[in-house]
Symmetry: C2
Subunit: 187 residues, 2 copies
């Protein structure tokens, strides 16, 4: 819970009152490996924070699993379209290591954003950060080779490469397992 508060403050500080009201409504999960936080075709109610452990967001595309996102220690994550649009999602959120996860319900988050201006600002900054990241990732998928993307991941998130199975990493990078294997074997 302390690490959640730190993560919040680093994005946008909250008044004592807002912080207390805000952190009070987060729910905690202490889960085993392979625990499912979000089932397929359901509305994603929670905005998550993983304090310790690892999770992946994935879905099925033509019968194959596509890993859309990987979250490790001290990261926020969510099914963006489902959480904000309140529509059922083909996404599945699965914990892939024993983990400690926090989540705030959509309705609580919106209620508090309405009540406290600084919570609204926090949410805006979170979404903005996510949007910037999304832009960078789109550029990467469009213009960088599989090799470049893998090398960038090695630089920016070496822990992912160490802790997450290659199958997940491959589709997170937008390439097949075979291509990733060949990239790794060169040199």
């Amino acid at each position: 819970m302390e690490s959640l508060q730190k993560a919040i403050i680093s994005i946008s500080p909250l008044s004592k009152e807002s912080m207390e009201a805000f952190t009070a409504v987060w729910k905690q999960w202490i889960t085993q490996k392979d625990f499912i936080l979000l089932k397929e075709n359901t509305v994603s109610d929670y905005f998550y924070f993983i304090e310790k452990g690892a999770a992946r967001i994935y879905y099925y595309k033509n019968g194959k699993e596509i890993t859309e996102w990987l979250a490790l220690d001290n990261q926020f994550f969510l099914s963006i379209t489902s959480f904000f649009q309140r529509t059922p999602s083909h996404l599945i959120i699965q914990v892939i290591e024993p983990s400690v996860v926090y989540g705030i319900h959509h309705d609580d988050f919106m209620r508090l954003a309405d009540k406290y201006h600084d919570v609204e600002r926090l949410l805006r900054k979170m979404v903005t950060g996510s949007l910037i990241f999304s832009q960078i990732r789109m550029d990467s998928i469009q213009f960088e080779s599989a090799q470049q993307r893998y090398e960038k991941l090695l630089q920016t998130s070496p822990q992912i490469v160490q802790r997450v199975p290659l199958t997940y990493i491959a589709s997170f990078l937008g390439i097949t397992l075979e291509t990733l294997s060949r990239i790794r074997s060169q040199k």
Copy 2:
């Protein structure tokens, strides 16, 4: 200016006071074709709204122009990373038809978001909408064929295909002009 107000309200309503303060600070440009709104390597100060006309956001990648975004009548547009991170951008924003464009300065927008909770909420909803769009576009670039992307554009934004040169459309779709030409010639 009326269309700007309508566009704002359709995203998130503002109180009379906020709306007045907010719309008061938008600057207007009435421009000829090819007018440059944002020069290369400068910080993008404005969040734009195109009332009538067309604009494109592009940059140079290995000496070639890449069109990143196309905005037509009644759309908001901006250089996301530059506007929010306040960093110089390789992006160029150019009007490609005689147009009427409005823009709000970053500092005015942030000042008003700080002062009025409902302006902050408006900004959050704008960014959220943009993020959702960005996710959908990323998925499209990653998994759809050039053909599918073109057909989708035809369906969702036929005006773009009618009003914008194919060179720009091609790189907006993430393909070359030649590939787009071949797609169009089949059937």
